[in-house]
């Protein structure tokens, strides 16, 4: 076995570039898009613009974090969008008892929905995609049963949550950043985080090594539900209304895309937290760019398709 230095010819320019791209493809894509906008989009380099993008991306980032954990265990959670809606419904339902109670109720509902999906996956052995698909249908229906139509509210605390800034930074963005740090810590520094990726990497081996496989699985889905609920609460407070019919619609696809674009493989065994955040930013910037340049919907979708492919291609796993 020769050391790195002994083999410059195999470990030279092209390979290095490829690895760099694989590690940092999503960062490069975000940077490229930023540059494009700086040059071609009027009013792009304004504080207000960055505020808008960050505020809009915050709920996506938060759900994507949960999704990244689930995908790390070789699972998938299609129910996140519906859980956002459920959380939103709970918020207005319990707003009578004050904002804190309402928020806690929403979070509990999110965790419960996650637990339901997680139980199906971990204890019954249902495939994640179907388990959470059932949840997607049912939970959105439930949210609608609870709050049959868009309901506005005037609770100042809740509205503040969505519009307040601290030291010039929107509260929503601070929350998203804090949760990112928390999840990164969870993945990198805790036993749970290590066990999670091991379960995703090889479940049989994890079981034989005495890992609490089922507990890890159900916990991951609970966290995903919880984070989706947080995103739901924030989105609700920003909308100043609860709209269970459309809140979080297709969020699952955005979140999955963010995770994968960020370099976490769908085959599990690996979680990239910062990459996920970058993935979400890439999608947000892309959409903003297309809107700002007023492209027709048909173009918007086709361009999105191409850019997502390109970004994932750049970030894809190396093959033998």
């Amino acid at each position: 076995m020769a050391e790195l230095a002994a083999a410059p010819h195999v470990w030279g320019g092209r390979a290095r570039l490829l690895t760099w791209l694989q590690e940092y493809g999503v960062y490069a894509s975000v940077l490229a898009l930023l540059l494009f906008n700086v040059v071609f989009t009027p009013h792009f380099l304004e504080v207000a613009n960055f505020r808008t993008q960050l505020i809009q991306v915050a709920p996506v980032v938060i759900t994507s974090l949960g999704m990244a954990l689930v995908i790390g265990t070789e699972g998938i959670d299609l129910s996140v969008g519906a859980v956002m809606a459920l959380a939103s419904a709970m918020v207005v339902l319990y707003l009578g008892y004050g904002a804190p109670v309402a928020i806690v109720a929403a979070l509990i509902a999110g965790a419960a929905a996650g637990a339901a999906g997680g139980a199906l996956v971990a204890y019954v052995g249902v495939q994640p995609i179907v388990a959470t698909l059932a949840l997607l249908v049912g939970v959105r229906g439930l949210a609608n049963v609870l709050v049959p139509q868009l309901t506005e509210f005037r609770n100042p605390t809740l509205i503040t949550l969505g519009s307040q800034s601290v030291l010039g930074l929107p509260l929503v963005v601070i929350i998203a950043a804090a949760l990112t740090v928390l999840v990164a810590f969870l993945v990198k520094r805790t036993t749970f985080g290590r066990q999670l990726v091991a379960v995703g990497g090889n479940r049989a081996a994890s079981r034989l090594s005495g890992l609490p496989v089922r507990r890890v699985l159900i916990t991951v889905y609970i966290i995903s539900g919880l984070l989706a609920a947080v995103a739901g609460v924030l989105a609700t407070s920003r909308l100043q209304a609860s709209d269970p019919t459309s809140l979080g619609l297709l969020m699952e696809l955005s979140a999955i895309t963010a995770v994968v674009v960020g370099g976490t493989p769908l085959t599990g065994g690996r979680v990239r937290v910062l990459g996920t955040v970058m993935g979400a930013l890439l999608i947000q910037l892309l959409q903003a760019t297309l809107i700002k340049h007023n492209l027709p919907q048909s173009w918007t979708q086709m361009v999105q398709a191409v850019i997502i492919l390109a970004a994932v291609y750049a970030a894809r796993g190396r093959r033998a």
Binding site: F44, T52, S163, T245, L249, A288, I291, Q297
Partner: protein, 332 residues
């Protein structure tokens, strides 16, 4: 297309009840005889109602409620209601199932104007009259279906344009918040608006059209992008009230004051009309969802042997700063 059939809108009846605007005076009418159907008992026989979207927005809620309430009032015992949850294929099979359950009359709120062939065929075999509400079916009245009761979306777009021209004084950049892509309503409301602007106010340029998918959240997000990158925008035409209200939230969030950007929308929900009162919206063109009374009275007439016109266009109201406060009670 029934265009400009009535120039002066009839004043709205009490509590937002639908009023017939044009009775298709020119076209031929349809009678039980010419349709070739069997007489049935509205009160005892199975009556089917197929709703297209979840009853989760004011329009659909009011629409379904109006049908159900009227049925209850008239003592219709066997009303079967289905909901296609916005899936067109599901609506087709829903209606087919209603036919299989022995429905004698079908009231349909179609999700789409085209693609009704299989349903029309089955209904025609059994001579079941179909009344479509709020959206038209592209087929032959009196043979394929009985009649259409509803608004004229193209016309709504034109009227919204009139309001916009008035609000802006014929000058300025306007953005459109489009409805869901691929939807007839979106298409007609866009076309009507653009045609009228071109015809009446060359000083107005439409600089931005993006879909807000008929939802408040999307309306808000798109508007946030819009006002940041195109500060020169003077007016926003939202193709439904929800998107308009989303736009209002965005404007508030950006620290704008009321009526800095003029907003015109279509639907006439209570929240939107309240928006006019509060000064955030300039005008709302109504699209009246209360089809129950008109649908069943038309059926009764049909059963009684009267002639039914091919289209029953209802008159939609308009809410402006002038009448919003008084008319708030009419909004749904």
């Amino acid at each position: 297309k029934s265009e400009d059939s009535g120039d002066t809108p009839t004043p709205a009846g009490s509590a937002g009840q639908q009023v017939v605007q044009s009775a298709g005076a020119t076209g031929p009418t349809c009678t039980l005889q010419s349709f070739g159907g069997q007489k049935f008992d509205l009160k005892k026989d199975v009556i089917g109602f197929s709703q297209s979207e979840k009853e989760a927005n004011p329009f659909r809620i009011a629409e379904t409620k109006s049908i159900k309430d009227e049925a209850a009032k008239l003592g219709i015992a066997n009303l079967r209601v289905t909901n296609a949850q916005s899936q067109f294929s599901k609506q087709i099979s829903d209606v087919q199932q209603l036919i299989a359950q022995g429905a004698k009359l079908l009231v349909i709120a179609p999700l789409n104007s085209d693609g009704w062939e299989p349903v029309l065929k089955q209904a025609a075999e059994k001579k079941i009259p179909i009344i479509t509400i709020d959206r038209k079916i592209n087929a032959q009245p009196c043979t394929d279906y009985l009649t259409f009761i509803g608004s004229d979306f193209y016309e709504q777009g034109k009227r919204a344009a009139d309001q916009m021209v008035q609000a802006l004084g014929g000058q300025g950049e306007v953005a459109i918040l489009l409805g869901a892509p691929g939807n007839n309503v979106t298409t007609d409301r866009t076309k009507g608006f653009k045609d009228r602007i071109q015809e009446k106010a060359p000083g107005i340029t439409i600089s931005f059209e993006q879909t807000g998918e008929f939802t408040r959240e999307k309306g808000q997000q798109v508007t946030e992008q819009l006002i940041q990158s195109r500060p020169g925008t003077k007016g926003i035409y939202a193709e439904n009230d929800e998107m308009a209200l989303g736009a209002v939230t965005a404007l508030k969030g950006a620290g704008k004051s009321p009526s800095q950007v003029k907003i015109v929308s279509v639907d006439g929900t209570r929240a939107a009309v309240q928006g006019i009162v509060d000064g955030w919206l300039s005008a709302v063109v109504e699209s009246n969802p209360r089809f129950g009374p008109l649908a069943f009275s038309t059926t009764q007439k049909f059963l009684d042997g009267e002639g039914i016109p091919a289209t029953v266009i209802i008159s939609d109201q308009e809410y402006t700063t002038a009448n919003a406060k008084e008319s708030l009670g009419n909004a749904y």
